[in-house]
């Protein structure tokens, strides 16, 4: 029987991520594990992952990446039209091709088109679903057209408002490279006040802020923002047989 490839991954850089428990974000208090994680060996179950197969199975069309029109109503969404693009990279800086990028967001008024959102009296836009998908190209580049999401209130603390953000979900090449993050916008005055943004360590949180890129901006059409996403792994140095971590 042929030997499967075991391509080991370096440890997850937990120091670059938020902690599980961050009391300023109140919901984390009861929803975080309290025992330490158990370190396990990387087996084929961990060094493979659903990203490639899931991306291949997704039936993605170019229309899916344009959130201003993908409601399919024939009319455009209301709001500040923007381009959001960047690369999905591994830790070595190589672009990851063929990877499904899934996004969801509020509309320009800060309202999510989700049945649970009933408290915030901002208008829904019948021409905006707030969801999109695309697959990265050979260089790992993704690209969406959308409207800039509005800030919205939430119940974490008095007069709490989330800064404008777009949710990103990427499975990555292996199980351990799974990433869900949020892309923020430069200069947002709500960022210093937001416990979710600030849950990430000071040295890493600015990596979630997109940059305005005039080369992405399209004349007479849309402003451009660039945001690169770095996933875990692969490891920089090969491991000896039988060794892990």
């Amino acid at each position: 029987m042929s030997e499967p490839l075991i391509r080991h991954y370096g440890p997850k850089a937990y120091d670059d991520h938020p902690p599980f428990r961050y009391p300023d974000y109140k919901s984390t208090v009861k929803r975080s594990p309290e025992h330490g994680m158990v370190r396990i060996v990387q087996t084929l179950s961990e060094t493979t992952g659903p990203g490639p197969a899931w991306s291949e199975a997704a039936s993605v069309t170019a229309d899916d990446a344009d959130l201003t029109t993908n409601a399919g109503t024939g009319a455009a969404a209301i709001g500040e039209r923007i381009i959001v693009t960047g690369r999905v990279l591994d830790g070595g800086g190589a672009g990851i091709p063929g990877m499904l990028v899934e996004i969801w967001q509020a509309n320009a008024s800060g309202r999510y088109a989700h049945w649970r959102e009933t408290a915030f009296p901002a208008p829904l836009d019948p021409n905006f679903l707030g969801v999109g998908q695309c697959v990265t190209d050979a260089d790992g580049v993704y690209r969406f057209t959308t409207v800039k999401p509005g800030p919205y209130p939430w119940g974490n603390h008095p007069n709490a408002w989330r800064p404008a953000h777009i949710h990103f979900s990427i499975m990555g090449p292996t199980l351990g490279s799974r990433l869900v993050s949020q892309m923020y916008f430069p200069g947002d005055p709500l960022l210093p006040l937001d416990p979710i943004y600030n849950s990430a360590p000071a040295h890493s949180r600015e990596r979630m802020i997109s940059v305005y890129d005039h080369d992405v901006t399209i004349e007479n059409w849309a402003l451009g923002y660039r945001w690169d996403i770095v996933l875990r792994g692969p490891t920089a140095t090969p491991f000896e047989d039988g060794e892990h971590r």
Binding site: F20, Y25, P52, R207, V230
Partner: protein, 195 residues
Amino acid sequence: MNRLPETPSQTVGPYFSMRLAGEGENRLAPAGTPGERLRVEGRVLDGDRAHIEDALLEIWQANAGGRYRHADDTRDEIALEEGFTGFGRAASDFSTGEYWFETVKPGPVPDPEGEWQAPHLNVVIQARGMLLPSFTRIYFSDEAAANDHDMVLRMVPAARRSTLIAQLVEGTTDPHVYRFDFKFQGDDETVFFDF
């Protein structure tokens, strides 16, 4: 080699189901997929043992032959089936907290020492209030001998192994139904992995 720092993780928030865990994503195996049919169901429970009404659960598994649909699983002699990726997503039910997956029991997958791992589902859990994904595995109560020899289970303190074993519901046959609750905090917290 200079490493690029990882992009920080953030919560999926309360609205992920706009995009993730769509209709049918928790049914992994279309009719005709080889293997023993099973349904695994349960709840995700918080530190007060209240159900988490907005959890996102993702599973990744080998097919009945024990092979993953991934370029690094190079064992071409084990067939892969069309329509079975080995990936599923479920959102917990807002009122009851129940999640479920319907799939086939994964076959044995080799461990790094060439022994066989017990059948298992790899699980990633996220939710509002979770800033990072939590990784764990679901094993099966009717695989006791295989579980006893499983390299990963043996890395877990013996007293906590039972938190990783789904219990077969007596009398269920096709599909076999297993119960598995994920628990955050407390003495019986589910074991979560770092790898």
